[in-house]
C-alpha cells in the first residue's frame, strides 16, 4: 500500500520537475507578468508577443498567465498568486472593472506596480491604462459602418463579456455615431462571451431572427469573423455589411474575400510592449507620462488589407 503512495509521489514529482526548471534561471532577473482576460484568443497572443519583445529589450523576465475562461474569480486568484510571487510588475486586462479593484490595490499596496491594458479599471490604484480609447474607436466603427450602409439600414451588435468596460465603451461610441443617422437602427445586442464558436452561433440565430438584416457590428475580436461565417452559410455575402474589431488573421482573410467590409484594428502587440516598458520604468522610480496611454487604431478595409496581412500583429 505504501508503494502505491510512493508511486504517486514520484509521478507528481515528475510533473513538478519541469516546473522547477522554469523559474530558477529567472530568479535573479525581475519578472513582469501579463494577465489577459482569458487564454486562447489570438488577440492575447499578440499582446504576449509584445511582452516578450519588451522583456528581451529590457533584459528582464516575463510571465504570461490568465484564466481559461473570462472568469472573474479565477483572474483574481491568478493575481493573488502573482502578488505572492512578488513579481516586479503586473499588466492586466480585467474581466470586470470593479471586482478586480481590491486585488489591484493590494498589489500596489505591497509595492507591485500595476497597469491595465485593453480594458480599464479606472477606480483602482493602477498606474496607467494602456490601450485603445474605446469610445473613440467605437465611434470610428460606427461612422465607417454608416458610410458603407449609405446612412440606411438595420444593424445587429455582437459583443463579448457584457461586464467588460472596454467593450461597453465601444458600443457606447458606436451608438453615439449611428445616432447621427436616423435611418440606421440597432435591432439587437448579443454576447459571444469572447468565444469564436459562440460568435458564429449567435450570428446565425440573429440572421434567422432578422432575415433582412443589413449589417453586423462586432465589438470584440470574435464578433466579425463569427458574423462572416454565418453570413456565408446563409448565402448573404455582399448583402450584409460587417464591421468588426481587431485585425486577427481570420478577420483579414474575410476582408480579402469581401465578406467583412472593415475592421478597426487595435494594437495588442503595442499594448503588451508598452506595458512592460512602463512597468520597468515604474520599478526605476519613473512614473508613466500620462494616465491614459492611447495605443491608437487603424481602420482596415479591402484597400489596405494586403499590407496588414504581411506585417500584422498576429504573425507569431
Amino acid at each position: 500500500m505504501k508503494v502505491r503512495g510512493l508511486v504517486i509521489v514520484l509521478l507528481v514529482g515528475l510533473i513538478l520537475m519541469p516546473l522547477s526548471g522554469c523559474a530558477n534561471k529567472g530568479e535573479s532577473k525581475p519578472v513582469f507578468a501579463l494577465v489577459p482576460k482569458s487564454v486562447g484568443l489570438v488577440y492575447w497572443a499578440a499582446a504576449e508577443k509584445g511582452m516578450h519583445e519588451a522583456a528581451a529589450e529590457e533584459g528582464v523576465d516575463c510571465q504570461f498567465t490568465g484564466p481559461e475562461t473570462i472568469d472573474v474569480a479565477r483572474q483574481i486568484s491568478i493575481m493573488e498568486g502573482l502578488i505572492a510571487r512578488r513579481v516586479a510588475g503586473i499588466a492586466i486586462a480585467p474581466n470586470d472593472p470593479t471586482a478586480i479593484v481590491p486585488v489591484i490595490n493590494r498589489a500596489v499596496g505591497v509595492g507591485v506596480p500595476v497597469v491595465t491594458f485593453d480594458s480599464d479599471a479606472p477606480e483602482s490604484d493602477r498606474l496607467a491604462y494602456v490601450g485603445t480609447v474605446n469610445t473613440e474607436a467605437g465611434k470610428l466603427a460606427g461612422e465607417t459602418l454608416a458610410k458603407f450602409l449609405n446612412g440606411k439600414g438595420t444593424v445587429a451588435i455582437s459583443t463579448g463579456g457584457l461586464g467588460a468596460h472596454n467593450l461597453n465603451e465601444r458600443v457606447a461610441g458606436f451608438r453615439e455615431a449611428i445616432a447621427n443617422f436616423p435611418d440606421i437602427r440597432e435591432v439587437t445586442l448579443q454576447t459571444n462571451n469572447d468565444s469564436d464558436e459562440e460568435a458564429t452561433a449567435v450570428a446565425e440565430s440573429t440572421l434567422s431572427r432578422f432575415p433582412d438584416l443589413n449589417a453586423f457590428f462586432g465589438a470584440n475580436a470574435p464578433g466579425a469573423p463569427g458574423a462572416a461565417r454565418a453570413v456565408k452559410e446563409a448565402g448573404r455575402v455582399g448583402k450584409v455589411t460587417i464591421v468588426g474589431f481587431d485585425d486577427t488573421p481570420l478577420c483579414l482573410q474575410f476582408i480579402k474575400e469581401g465578406v467583412v467590409q472593415a475592421t478597426v484594428a487595435q494594437r495588442p502587440r503595442e499594448m503588451g510592449y508598452r506595458c512592460i516598458k512602463l512597468l520597468v520604468q515604474a520599478t526605476q522610480g519613473v512614473n508613466p507620462p500620462t494616465e491614459i496611454i492611447d495605443t491608437g487604431v487603424t481602420v482596415i478595409t479591402a484597400e489596405n488589407v494586403d499590407e496588414f496581412l504581411e506585417t500584422g500583429d498576429y504573425k507569431i
Binding site: 487564454v39 498567465t65 472573474v72 474569480a73 457584457l162
Partner: protein, 337 residues
C-alpha cells in the same frame, strides 16, 4: 452480500490507504514549493490559496455524496452562478425596504434555496424517472446558466451593501471566512457519511444499488437527498463567491464542475460509487489549489498550465483503478477461502 458487509465494516483500512497516499502527495508538493519558492510558505499566501480552493472543496462535499451513489452532478458551476445572481438580485430589490442586515440575510437564504431547488429537481428526475444523472445534470447545467443570463441580461449585479461582504471577504483571526465554512461543512459532511444511517445507506446504494434496494433501503430518498445537498452546497458556494467579488457575475462558475469532480476523484472517491470520503475530497481540492498556485509561483506560462492539472487527475484515476482491482482480487480470495 459483500457490499452490505463492506457498508457495515468500519472504513479504517480503506481510509489509511487512500487518504494517506494523497496527503503524502500534497505534503511533498507543499514542501517542494516551500523550498524552491519561499513565498509559497508565507502565511498570507497559504491562507489565500486556502480561500481559492475552499469553494471547490465545499462543493466537493456534496459532489462526493453524489458520486458515492454512483451518480454525477455537472450542474454545480451553473447553480453556483444562478444562486449568486438570485441572492444579489434579491438584495438589490429588497434594499430600499428594510434594514441592511435583514436584506442580506434574506438574499443569502434566497440563494441557498435556489441551489437546493436545483438539486432537488436533479434528484427527483434521477430517482423517479430513472434518467442517467449525467444527462439530467447536463441539462440542468444549461438551464441554470440560461436563467442566469435571463435574470442578469449578462451584466454583473453590483451595488451590494457592505453587510453582504463578510461571507466572502471576512476573516476570523486572519483565516478567511470561506475557509472556516469549508472546514465546518466538511466536518459535518464527514460525520454525516460515517456515522448516520443515511450516510451509510449512501455508500450502500453506490456499492450495489439492487442489493441496497432489496435490503430495504429507500434508494429514491437517498438519491434525492444527495443531489439536493449537492445543489445546496453549490448554492452556498455561489453566494460566497458573489460576496467575495462584491458582485454577482454571469460568468461565475464556468468549468467549475470539472474542478470539483477532479477534487473528488483525486481525493480517492471512485467514480463507480461505493467508496470515498469527504476528507479525501478536501485533500484533493487542496492538491489542485496548491498545484495551481505553484504553477503561477513557478512562472509557468498560461499555455502550459492545463497539462499538469490534467495529468494529476489521470494519475489519480489510474491509482484508483489499480486500487479497485486489488480490492476485488482480495475479496475474491476471501470468498474462495
Amino acid at each position: 452480500m459483500n457490499t452490505l458487509k463492506a457498508a457495515r465494516e468500519p472504513k479504517t483500512s480503506a481510509f489509511a490507504v487512500r487518504e494517506t497516499g494523497i496527503l503524502l502527495v500534497l505534503v511533498c508538493m507543499c514542501l517542494a514549493l516551500a523550498f524552491t519558492t519561499p513565498r509559497f510558505a508565507e502565511v498570507e499566501n497559504l491562507l489565500l490559496v486556502a480561500r481559492q480552493f475552499s469553494m471547490f472543496a465545499t462543493m466537493g462535499v456534496g459532489m462526493t455524496m453524489v458520486i458515492l451513489t454512483g451518480g454525477i452532478d455537472l450542474s454545480v458551476g451553473s447553480v453556483l452562478a444562478l444562486s449568486g445572481c438570485v441572492a444579489a438580485k434579491c438584495i438589490v430589490w429588497l434594499a430600499p425596504h428594510a434594514d441592511a442586515h435583514i436584506v442580506v440575510f434574506a438574499g443569502i437564504l434566497a440563494g441557498l434555496a435556489t441551489g437546493l431547488l436545483c438539486g432537488l429537481v436533479n434528484g427527483l428526475i434521477v430517482a423517479k424517472l430513472g434518467i442517467p444523472p449525467f444527462i439530467v445534470t447536463l441539462g440542468m447545467m444549461s438551464i441554470a446558466r440560461g436563467l442566469v443570463y435571463v435574470i442578469t441580461r449578462g451584466r454583473p449585479v453590483v451595488e451590494l451593501p457592505d453587510e453582504f461582504f463578510f461571507l466572502g471577504q471576512g476573516r476570523i483571526w486572519r483565516v478567511p471566512f470561506p475557509v472556516v465554512c469549508m472546514l465546518v461543512i466538511a466536518f459535518i459532511g464527514a460525520v454525516f457519511l460515517a456515522r448516520t444511517r443515511l450516510g451509510r445507506n449512501i455508500y450502500a446504494v453506490g456499492g450495489n444499488e439492487e442489493a441496497a434496494r432489496l435490503s430495504g433501503i429507500n434508494v429514491d430518498k437517498v438519491k434525492i437527498v444527495v443531489y439536493s445537498l449537492c445543489g445546496l452546497l453549490a448554492g452556498f458556494a455561489g453566494v460566497t463567491t458573489a460576496s467575495h467579488l462584491s458582485s454577482a457575475q454571469a460568468t461565475s462558475g464556468l468549468t467549475n464542475e470539472l474542478d470539483v469532480i477532479a477534487a473528488v476523484i483525486v481525493g480517492g472517491t471512485s467514480l463507480m460509487g461505493g467508496s470515498g470520503t469527504v476528507l479525501g475530497t478536501v485533500i484533493g481540492a487542496a492538491l489542485m489549489g496548491v498545484l495551481r498556485n505553484g504553477l503561477i509561483l513557478r512562472g509557468v506560462s498560461a499555455n502550459w498550465q492545463l497539462i499538469p492539472l490534467g495529468t494529476v487527475i489521470i494519475v489519480a484515476v489510474v491509482f484508483d483503478q489499480l486500487h479497485q482491482r486489488r480490492r476485488e482480487r482480495t475479496q475474491t480470495r476471501l470468498q474462495r477461502n
